[in-house]
Symmetry: C2
């Protein structure tokens, strides 16, 4: 897509200079706006044509029954699925007596630009109606990072040639008709008309709708107001219906004259507050936005983003497409998480209906590291959401016969929504992933209040889960049997190395945190015996190793399994899960996504350098990357074991996952975790950053194509800027007390003032480039320009 001639590579925006209707659905995802609370797909203002209409409010979902042909104990009976809410985007335009529709008349030019610094999506079109009337339409949208219940549009029409009568209908629409879903199980099941009209009203240029949901019993309000700036005689009127609010503006424009419409939409929803309260809440938000005005909203947005980029920008010299992709990725991670506040960060953010709007382990493992070091408040908010679901996780653990908490594999509100337990319930590692995110956040921020109110309780309950899930065998080893690790082409295996290492970290972290807060942990019933039990289980954790091959099996016995017959597998048979039965995938050596390799990234000290190299080469031969959660991890370890060119190929794959629609499902929404992985591939890959110890480590080394990489990280309130060239790394602290770090294993101290510059040592020999399954290697990446 980014390879499509309509797209232009620019460092600070995503720009499309034409309109290919075949790419509508994909571009609706790419140009989507969100602040983590409201999500607006980039549907055209006039509503049609569209790929997939989409307006989302984080946490708004409907229930659907989960059917089972053969039921089983503990299967969830009800699923949650994000629904398309009231659409505040539509602005229809009638030019004389013809509707503005890009499929009719002549579209002389069409450009869309998502600006990462302004946070605005601008669309410029020049259109000639079938009757020959030319107009310029300029529409600018934002979803406010500052006023989180507000989205706004500035819509301008200019008559270019003849006098024209213009009618603009600015609408809010509920229960839009959606296209039928595909058969791909990763796409959400569709729900029919989901919103029940409860109230509608209009007054002057304002209109509003209130709806409810049947099963999840939510109230959703959407209200809009307008400021119209047009020539004399411009008339404005509003009306409302159960599923429609409409403000109509009529004006006559002489050539060169403009009609300008500022439209602000306020959203409100609740599962507990009354209809009048929710309606008031949306109206109040709207009143604030109208007082701020369009220019004020834009200024706030710019200010918010200036702050973000000042601490978080990643600069890349030597590869313009990766520079653009890296900023796009950071911007999208921010859009997904900035203002989620008390709600989950879904796998697709709020950019599309993929995965039913569910949140998985990706949030904690892929997205939160980026937020922790760039926007720590958002990371804390995401973990507060998890903490808020603790009662459900504790109930789920009890239902499963376990102690502590069992967080759901996929959910919106907190209840388990996975209907396939081998790749759901059995993937217990999510609990340790949550714990690891807590540990990382607390270490990075020294936020003691968070540890006391949120972190400790999460650590305690997840540690209890592991202690009850595992057991000591006759040899005294602590085993965790019958679980599923990150790789979804294996399931229900014993002693998955990733899971066991994550559990080990979880148990130790819980014991350490409980020791730091003895009174508080006592309130949770933790005593010295329990803490000792956690430490003992962690110390005895069984990590299987295949002595004969000199590699770690992904799980016990894995390396004895038959290797998948890659030579007999055609390109069209990927992703394998759509063409082969689970039973066959599970019992063979074939890896969907980094699992043992991710363990090496997150637990670098458990593996020797030689083991890392051997393990990486071994799993490279087996990994088909049918998941978007793999390339970024492979990039990190490829860089560590010295295959920087391979790392660069993987980085490019992660970076272009959506921009080039590599998985052919960008239409359903962006792969937020993979986008987050771009940052990780750069910072942990080329920067060699590891944060598993008390001291942050860097081991920077650039791939052949790059000449400079610079990035920032927030650490306990201090901004560390790192700048890497081919031979040197320099570390700068913007504020605060000196910071000790490791540079290629050497302790160094960074202080404010002068940059600390360190030489980058010669790399040790890397050995032959690892081989991937036939046809599944990453596309060779050629850095583009400088």
């Amino acid at each position: 897509m980014i390879g499509h001639p309509d797209f232009v590579t620019e460092p600070w925006c995503l720009r499309e200079t034409g309109l290919d209707l075949g790419l509508l659905a994909q571009t609706e995802s790419l140009f989507a706006l969100s602040n983590g609370h409201i999500g607006w797909r980039a549907n055209l203002d006039e509503g049609e044509p569209h790929g997939l209409p989409g307006s989302y409010l984080n946490g708004v979902f409907e229930l659907r029954p989960l059917p089972y042909a053969e039921a089983g104990y503990g299967y969830p009976e009800s699923g949650q699925i994000a629904i398309n809410v009231t659409n505040g985007k539509p602005i229809r335009l009638l030019v004389d007596d013809e509707p503005f529709d890009v499929r009719y008349g002549e579209l002389r030019s069409h450009e869309r630009c998502l600006d990462f610094r302004s946070g605005l999506l601008t669309r410029r079109a020049v259109w000639v109606s079938p009757a020959g009337r030319a107009v310029r339409v300029t529409s600018t949208r934002l979803v406010s990072f500052v006023q989180r219940s507000i989205a706004a549009v500035c819509y301008e029409v200019e008559a270019l040639s003849d006098p024209v009568r213009i009618v603009v209908q600015s609408e809010i629409i509920a229960n839009e008709q959606l296209p039928a879903p595909s058969g791909d199980p990763r796409v959400a099941a569709a729900l029919g008309t989901a919103l029940v009209p409860e109230k509608n009203a209009s007054h002057r240029a304002r209109a509003g709708l209130v709806h409810s949901t049947r099963g999840s019993r939510l109230i959703i309000a959407a209200v809009m107001d307008h400021v119209v700036d047009g020539p004399g005689g411009t008339r404005v009127d509003a009306e409302s219906f159960p599923d429609l609010g409409r403000t109509t503006v009529v004006a006559t424009l002489e050539p060169g004259q403009h009609l300008r419409l500022f439209k602000a939409i306020g959203y409100g929803w609740s599962g507990s507050r009354s209809l009048p309260a929710v309606w008031d809440q949306a109206d109040a938000a709207l009143a604030g936005a109208m007082q701020t005005g369009w220019d004020g909203l834009c200024a706030e947005q710019r200010d918010y983003l200036d702050n973000f980029w000042a601490r978080a920008d990643v600069e890349i010299d030597g590869d313009t497409s990766i520079q653009q992709a890296a900023r796009f990725a950071l911007f999208e991670v921010l859009q997904a998480g900035a203002r989620a506040e008390g709600r989950a960060i879904p796998a697709k953010g709020l950019t599309g209906p993929g995965y039913g709007g569910h949140t998985f382990w990706d949030t904690e493992t892929f997205v939160l590291p980026v937020l922790t070091y760039t926007t720590p408040d958002a990371a804390a908010q995401a973990l507060r959401w998890r903490h808020g679901t603790l009662p459900m996780a504790i109930a789920r653990a009890r239902q499963l016969g376990l102690k502590g908490a069992a967080f759901p594999w996929r959910t919106i509100r907190g209840e388990e929504c996975s209907a396939y337990w081998p790749a759901g319930t059995a993937a217990f590692h999510i609990n340790a992933d949550v714990a690891a995110a807590v540990v990382r956040y607390v270490r990075a921020t020294a936020d003691v209040a968070f540890e006391q109110t949120i972190g400790l309780e999460l650590l305690v309950h997840t540690a209890r889960l592991w202690r009850s899930l595992g057991h000591h065998d006759g040899l005294g080893r602590f085993r965790i049997d019958g679980v599923t690790g990150p790789d979804e082409y294996s399931a229900v295996a014993d002693n998955n190395v990733y899971t066991n290492l994550m559990a080990q970290q979880n148990l130790v972290a819980a014991a350490d945190a409980a020791a730091r807060h003895p009174d508080l942990s006592g309130e949770f019933g933790v005593d010295a015996e329990e803490m000792a039990g956690w430490r003992d289980a962690a110390a005895s954790m069984f990590i299987p190793y295949d002595e004969a091959l000199g590699v770690h099996p992904q799980a016990e016995g894995f390396t004895g399994h038959q290797v998948w017959d890659f030579s007999a597998t055609t390109a069209g048979q990927y992703p394998l899960l759509l063409h082969f039965p689970y039973f066959d995938l599970y019992r063979k050596q074939v890896v969907k996504q980094a699992d043992l390799v991710l363990a090496m990234q997150l637990h670098p000290d458990v593996f020797t350098r030689e083991q890392k190299a051997r393990n990486f080469a071994y799993y490279e031969r087996l990994t088909v990357r049918d998941s978007s959660l793999s390339a970024c991890v492979q990039a990190v370890i490829a860089a560590e074991v010295g295959h920087l060119d391979l790392a660069d190929d993987y980085l490019a794959e992660a970076a272009l996952m959506d921009l080039d629609d590599l998985e052919h499902n960008t239409a359903d929404g962006l792969h937020v975790a993979s986008l987050a992985g771009v940052w990780t591939a750069l910072i942990a890959g080329y920067g060699g950053m590891r944060d598993n110890g008390a001291v942050l480590r860097f081991a920077p080394r650039l791939p052949p194509g790059l000449t400079r990489l610079a990035f920032g990280m927030l650490l306990t309130g201090r901004t560390l800027r790192v700048e890497i060239t081919r031979t040197m790394a320099s570390y700068t602290l913007r504020e605060g007390t000196p910071l000790q770090i490791l540079h290629h294993g050497q302790p160094v101290t960074v202080s404010t003032g002068e940059a600390l510059t360190c030489a980058i040592p010669e790399p040790p020999p890397a050995g032959p480039r690892p081989v991937q399954p036939v046809g599944r290697g990453p596309k060779p990446h050629r850095p583009s320009g400088s």
Copy 2:
């Protein structure tokens, strides 16, 4: 139930001397009549009250969609479920103006008797109407073993006290209303009105209905005719409606006078023939039965059963309840399989809707051994049915990416109907179970024509499956990874010992059969290389062994898993599958049903005597018998390792599974495989019969309570009778050439004429009695009388 005071222990029948309405559903199963083609539950003639109305035709099913909340490649989309067909049983009686209903008036006496020698179900009742009119009702039913499309009733009413006007309505009814099913997943999903009326007609005393099914597109005809014998003035009339055929008989009886009604019902169904053809077929069968007449049908039935018992009877001295149960069991196995001819033998026979009318591996593994040695034609027919489904099994294997044939885990017509692959598709052992049944049948009958037309092809395709499912590992061992063995509390494990041994036998048997029939096997594409590949895989088959514990793990790694916490499990939490999640069951040491222990029964030479004793003791501690397919197997191995008292307890459990409703689901139909296991527990347990080698082996030894056990087995057309006392065993051949057998390891030859008598050696010491999980040991059995 058999412990209920209404039941009487008799050697040749099951007799109930009262009517407990609370046991109606169970007794409908126990007294059900079937010939393997037609199945009639023992609903009362007058239809109400009932537990569960049920009339079945083997192979008549409806399709139902199999829903998945998360779909996967290769999941079956459509299930098959046996349906309640046109009910030919109802005979309603009006005494003056009051309907005969056991819930009203006074039931002075009520007796039902299922006679194993006559094959008749007789019911005798004396009833006084609310108005004080006393009648004796005697009804006798049969489902003919000789005329397989015919069921018949002889219904007699006698006025006992006053003159009464009697109206008898003899009916055939389609689309009866069925009670709502329970939530137990082992009970079938209910289907609503399943039969579409196509035609109905009546003439004189005859009436008939033709229906079709919507999804499975079957045509089903049921026709009835009557012979009425009553006093002068008796009137007979018939009429028909879409779902009802009714013949009405009106008579006035003086005290002592009888009205006698002979009702015959002919059934016909087809998935390929036209409606007129099916209607004609049912009418023709009925015409034959009417010509035979009631007495003729009874005589044929008796003759058929006399032959059966002459070759198959099992005599037990010292335990009258086991004597009765053993004959009941043999009778039920015969009822299930006698005339299935081209159709499957369902897990519940045709006695109830349990398991949706599906056939599983039980048929080949539990039922066919009994039929092979008592009614070999029926065994051959069952295997012919499997062979008929080969095209579907080959297609399924191809869908799964495998060679050869993959038979369905559960089915009616042949397509896979299991919607839960870890306990369905992954249970590949069914393929070797089919192969083993072929090997046993051919060895027992020397039926070369069968081997050529049926057996060889089954062996070849199942061997191909194993060769493609397994692989050689780096140590040259042939491994079969990621499959599920018989124990359903483990799943998707590597190198299940039972599966690997069965596959090994399958591979060798296929190679041997192909070598015997080189031309034929060549037609199937078998060449010397393929045969060598089978033999090599068999020779290299990996059988895991835990050296530290000195036991065979059920599957690789099993003995390292956590032992289920039996002490924390309450009696109400069994069966565990209804109270604990699969993930927890699968990853712990807890055994639903004999798995490794069944492997020791079927592959006795793979294990040393000491290993058998240790393995048995080890698995006894873990086995909870939440399946009815376990006790009989445990009885066999308990006997072999010298725990004859424990064997007796297990035998009693298998024998009383339905008679005492031990699993609380006899209402849904009988456990035919467990009933077959009664024979196996006696013959392979106390008789020590093993048939895995070329020469049949016996190692007889009676448990403390029994003084004599005698049984017959058909071998290559010769009837071998075996009689065992506490000290001696005698072998008699009724006809044919001499037969070499092993008696306690010693080769001996049995000839016609004089019995061969052998001493039973002293048993070796057995060691301490194995221990079962708390509360899960078998109920101690006390032999009842002599």
